[in-house]
Amino acid sequence: MFSNLPLLSLVIWTPIVGGMLVLATGSRNGVEAKVLALLVSLATLALSIPLYTQFDVSLASMQFEELLPWISSFHINYHVGVDGISMPLILLTTFMTVIVIIAGWEVITYKVAQYMAAFLILEGLMIGTFAAMDAMLFYVFWEALLIPMFVIIGIWGGPNRVYATIKFFLYTFLGSVFMLVSLLYMYMHAVDVNGVGTFNIQDLHKLPLDLTPQIFIFLSFLLAFAVKVPMWPVHTWLPDAHVEAPTGGSVILAAIMLKLGGYGFLRFSLPITPDASMTLDWLVILLSLIAIVYIGFVALVQADMKKLIAYSSISHMGFVTLGFFLLWKITENTGSASGVVLGLEGGIVQMISHGFISGAMFLSVGVLYDRMHSRMIKDYGGVVNTMPAFATFAVFFAMANAGLPGTSGFVGEFMVIMAAFKANFWYAFLAAITLILGAAYTLWMIKRVVFGPIANEQVENLEDMNGREFFMMLVLAIAVLIVGLYPAPLLEVMHATVDNLVAHISIPKISQ
């Protein structure tokens, strides 16, 4: 009976409209705002579940498609749809937003309605970005989501928040404008080729392009997505933004916004410019390996917990980009395309897994910060004595972050390392180093913070997690375990799409 509902649009617009309603409450103590925000986020989560249950895993094409003319003079349409790559990411978004709303429940006391509304609007915009099938619609969502994030870091952030948030905005803005020029160029090119311009992403996939324009388009995409992922050397905004952002902001930033960059590679770079991707795949692999190894070492020396997790995020996202761009090296090395899917799927699983784990890690830091108002490792020690339940979860998520088998962190990293082995031993060697490094910086932090004797009086007076915090941690831990122990449903969803993507990429666009 609900088959005619524009389900995807509902998932996009419910949080945005709900966010505006939350703003309209404008209440003083914020109770109405909080309750309404929670209801809206739960409703969005409920609405997004049919995207999974009604998803046909055998199809590689877009599902739940909606197409409405929007700006006819530029052939821009309101065109949304999901495939096996975007659907899990949308579910991740709706899931994490509920967590973030709960995380801000008691902590946020200043302008509560605006805080909740910003996260809801951000949720809608992020889902829109994942669902957009029109490049200009994608760009609108992509840029628009900077606005709520800018406000979140700027209003509820730490002492140096203004610097961090402006840096965050300008970095991302600079990265994306070149993508915009590329999109406009391809629109014009489509006029030359087909007689009619288009921003439809699937039409752009088929658009023939010579190698030189492809390379420029690829580089502009790379800039846009590398800033978002972020890849070395354009990662410097991330530690600042994470450190200054409120806990909820860090969670969303790490869990979802970084994934937008990875998603962009799959949706734009690889299929639109396959030949340039092949020509320049060494560049991405190089940057990824630098991120994995070098940033891993950087994480080791951090004194600030949030900064450490931020660098760990960059390092882990290096796996994602590495997995995405291994396919030509694999084909070159093994002579067959049998293993290429592994890298891509590993990257996608890593994105989902990192969404849960990094979100949980930032929440853990948030739990401590709310009590002690410090993120410095040296201010802690022996937390396990006063907060045993918290310590259990912290250790669990640290293990997951280090890639312990049985947790979701293991699956993606293992798949990418396997793929890297097929491509080149040294890629795999360098990537595998990070398993050691990751364990080192995460567990060392846990050792200093959680274990040992009680460091000071403040730690001695800590209270363990309350029911609300326990619930958030528990839900995330379950998610990490499910993906880690039984990733098959997740992989099954993306198989057809990834196969189709690989088949598309392997056909050169340039005339030989």
Binding site: I71, S73, F74, I147, F150, L170, L184
Partner: protein, 476 residues
């Protein structure tokens, strides 16, 4: 020579407005200061009626009257309606500001209306003389409006500067026109356009350069921008509102009439000049704006950068390019009038919200107007989903289409630089604590108009199709 009665109907909006101005002037003579509201209301009614007449006069052909010196085409109708609506907004924003500063005189409104008349003549000009007539009518009204606050040294200085520089620019424009006249033997733009191909290119090029100089001065393109920051800053905000908004539409129309209609065959000659103006305006406007602490000066430099974008659409020399450029000009005035409206909103008797710092903590005082300010700033920065984004897309698309990819890249880089100072305003509005607890004192009509203005920036941004189609189809 036969005397043919011109078709007055085509100029009905102008004729009506002129009659109304005369009536308002006479009525105003007999009004005491406390009943000045009558002048205000009458001015608004005249503008609404003029807009309505311009609308009912709409034709999808290009008609001319007064021996070709007055043109009525879709562009003219659309721009006249836009000008009237924008100036209605200007008058509403200005009323309380004028009252608080004891300059609530009938002259502000009659001069403003004369300016509107001048702009409408410029928009419909088909002859060098009509262009000049409209331009001077507008300029003289503005000089007087700035100087109205006669006790203010700043305002007098601004008026003086504007007058001298404006007179020089007008002189240059006339000089250029005389050269073109000397070569082609005509002042009529259509006739000139036909004569260009057989004319002496050297003299024509000289004439072209001087004409562009006059146009660039009116638009405020670098390097003819020097007057703008001083005039924007020195004028009472009620007048800055006026100067910064509708005249840019008229300047666009002047550029279109002179270059695209009168000298279309010299496209290759003026394209490169305009490209340089565009690049300089975008880059310098955005960079210098970063250093400003006075929000009126900042907006002046922001205007300069927007002018660069307006010109960027124009350089393509295609119908779609003119459409994009006009779309940008209209969008710019909507944003600009809202931005200065915000300054008026925060000002009160004895307090000018002139510095960026005066916007501190607006989110505490009024979350709604903080949001409006955010919408204006993000729109100016070209961040979707606000209106300004689509204007940028439209002109960038035309630059790419005409093979000027590098110009588009300069444009986007300039807009990233520009984003910084817009973000700084949002930072002040949202992230800083207020300096005092004085509540907003603006009256209901300003609040309502400004809310509508801000909503328009968001709503048209979400669904820009109608306005874009209107602008593009105007030239098709």
């Amino acid at each position: 020579m036969n005397f043919v009665t011109p078709d007055f109907m085509l100029a009905m909006p102008e004729i009506f407005l002129l009659s109304m101005i005369c009536i308002i002037m006479i009525i105003d003579l007999f009004l005491k200061d406390e009943s000045r509201g009558a002048t205000y209301v009458l001015s608004l009614i005249s503008l609404i009626a003029t807009a309505f007449l311009a609308f009912s006069n709409y034709t999808d052909q290009s008609l001319s009257t007064f021996n070709g010196s007055f043109i009525l085409d879709p562009m003219a109708s659309l721009l006249k309606i836009s000008i009237c609506i924008i100036v209605i907004g200007v008058f509403i924003y200005a009323k309380d500001y004028l009252k608080d500063r004891n300059i609530y005189k009938g002259e502000y409104f009659t001069l403003g209306l004369f300016g509107v008349l001048g702009m409408m003549v410029m928009v419909s000009a088909g002859n060098f003389l009509t262009v000049y007539l409209g331009l001077e009518l507008l300029s003289l009204s503005m000089y007087a409006m700035i100087a109205m606050q006669r006790d203010s040294i700043m305002a007098s200085e601004a008026a003086m500067k504007y007058f001298i520089l404006g007179a020089i620019a007008s002189g240059m424009l006339l000089y250029g026109m005389s050269m073109v006249y000397g070569v082609t033997g005509s002042l009529d733009l259509a006739t000139i356009n036909k004569a260009v191909s057989s004319a002496d290119r050297v003299v024509m090029s000289f004439g072209l350069v001087f004409i562009i100089l006059g146009v660039a001065f009116k638009l405020g393109a670098v390097p003819f921008h020097m007057w703008m920051p001083d005039v924007y800053h020195g004028s009472p905000t009620s007048v800055t509102l006026y100067i910064a908004s509708a005249p840019k539409i008229a300047a666009f129309a002047m550029m279109y009439r002179l270059l695209a209609e009168g000298l279309a065959d010299m496209h290759a000659d003026w394209q490169m000049i305009l490209v340089i103006l565009s690049v300089l305006s975008m880059v310098f406007g955005n960079i210098i704006a970063i250093a400003q602490t006075n929000i009126k000066r900042m907006l002046a430099y922001s205007t300069i950068s927007h002018v660069g974008f307006i010109i960027m659409g124009f350089v393509a020399g295609t119908q779609a390019g003119y459409g994009a450029s006009m779309f940008y000009a209209i969008v710019y005035t909507i944003m600009s009038v809202a931005a200065f409206g915000m300054i008026v909103l925060l000002s009160r008797a004895g307090f000018e919200a002139e510095n960026i710092e005066d916007f501190k903590g607006l989110n505490h005082k009024s979350p709604w107007f903080a949001f409006v300010m955010m919408a204006i700033m993000f729109s100016m920065a070209g961040v979707p989903p606000f209106l300004g984004f689509w204007a940028k897309i439209a002109v960038l698309q035309e630059a790419v289409n005409s093979g000027l990819l590098w110009l588009a890249i300069v444009g986007v880089v300039a807009s990233v630089i520009g984003a910084f100072y817009y973000l700084r305003v949002i930072k002040v509005v949202y992230f800083d604590k207020p300096m005092d607890e004085t509540p907003l004192q603006a009256s209901m009509d300003i609040r309502l108009t400004l809310s509508l203005n801000g909503l328009a920036i968001l709503a048209i941004g979400l669904y820009p199709t109608a306005l874009i189609t209107l602008c593009v189809s105007t030239f098709a």
